[in-house]
Symmetry: C2
Subunit: 195 residues, 2 copies
């Protein structure tokens, strides 16, 4: 295989780049048009990929969007790991920001679609549980929270639930002013509760 | 009109009852099947009403579901007003319960649909703002919170955002055990913050 490997490499790279473009297009398509408006054709066109090439990578709509869920989950984990950890106020603000961007919006459309689409439900539920555990672990670390103390685990979980609720509120209106005030107050409550 | 009024009354009652049945069917249809699976025909069949009668009340899908949004909003307001107000722990638990039932689930499907459907967006956004203001007012009253104190308004708002986030988490899995712990801890934190 040695002598034929080098010429194959660029083709594999192209294939990976195509797959990546399709996943990114699937996520932004979901964020903008929701599940009903997201088909393989629409995503392929958005990615600048032929329908045939798209179907080579993802034979069905479910396969494409299940892979997109994984991609979103991985992106969100990376974004979480890249959060600044200067002080708790900044950490809380950065956690909330994660839930108000296009990645959360795409994830939200997937959750809602999965609640009615049998084929999406299993993979989306499983991935969501995984992302939830990872978000919690990273939040605990960034907030320097000591989970051996009573109530600390639930304080952090409630904070992530609040961030999710704020993200949901931004779906219809951008209420940034209100959000910033709530975040500042809850950051103070969390800081006091965590000691 | 005096002498013809009595015989007309039952017909008006029947018409009101039909409208009510259609709105209730629209809400449960949304909660179970989402926007994509909710058409006038499906709702009419569920309500046991002919398609013609349904179209007499609601000429379009948008008219039906916009009215259903209003109905959901009114139901949620009534549920809020009926909350027990024994102690703050119970109030917090009851507020969170409001966001985990079928009414919230229906509202969630509507918000997501409205974010992509031009004709739904206006009325849903407006009603959501109205329901949000009313939820806040009732929560302040039940929690006996003094909003003249700094941070109190934002503490209550954050609590409602947390309730919304917990509701969203129940869309795919019923995590009641986790939810009860988070609610107990944050009820204690909110109680302390409100003094």
């Amino acid at each position: 295989m040695g002598v034929v490997s080098p010429p194959k490499q660029p083709q594999q790279d192209r294939s990976r780049a195509t797959r990546q473009r399709l996943l990114e297009a699937a996520v932004s398509c979901l964020a903008e048009h929701g599940w009903a408006g997201s088909t393989v054709s629409v995503v392929a066109e958005r990615a600048g990929v032929s329908r045939g090439a798209a179907q080579h990578h993802f034979p069905t709509r479910e396969a494409l969007f299940t892979a997109a869920v994984e991609y979103v989950a991985e992106e969100r984990s990376q974004a979480l790991r890249a959060l600044p950890a200067e002080n708790r106020g900044e950490v809380v603000a950065a956690l909330v920001d994660l839930y108000t961007g296009p990645l959360f919006r795409a994830a939200l459309h997937l959750w809602v679609a999965a609640s009615n689409e049998e084929q999406l439900r299993g993979p989306v539920t499983e991935l969501e549980a995984r992302v939830g555990r990872e978000s919690h672990r990273i939040a605990v670390e960034l907030l320097r929270a000591d989970e051996s103390l009573p109530g600390v685990r639930e304080t952090v979980q409630g904070l992530l639930d609040m961030a999710r609720g704020l993200g949901l509120a931004t779906l219809l209106t951008d209420d940034r002013t209100r959000r910033d005030r709530v975040v500042a107050q809850w950051a103070a409550l969390v800081d006091e509760a965590l000691g």
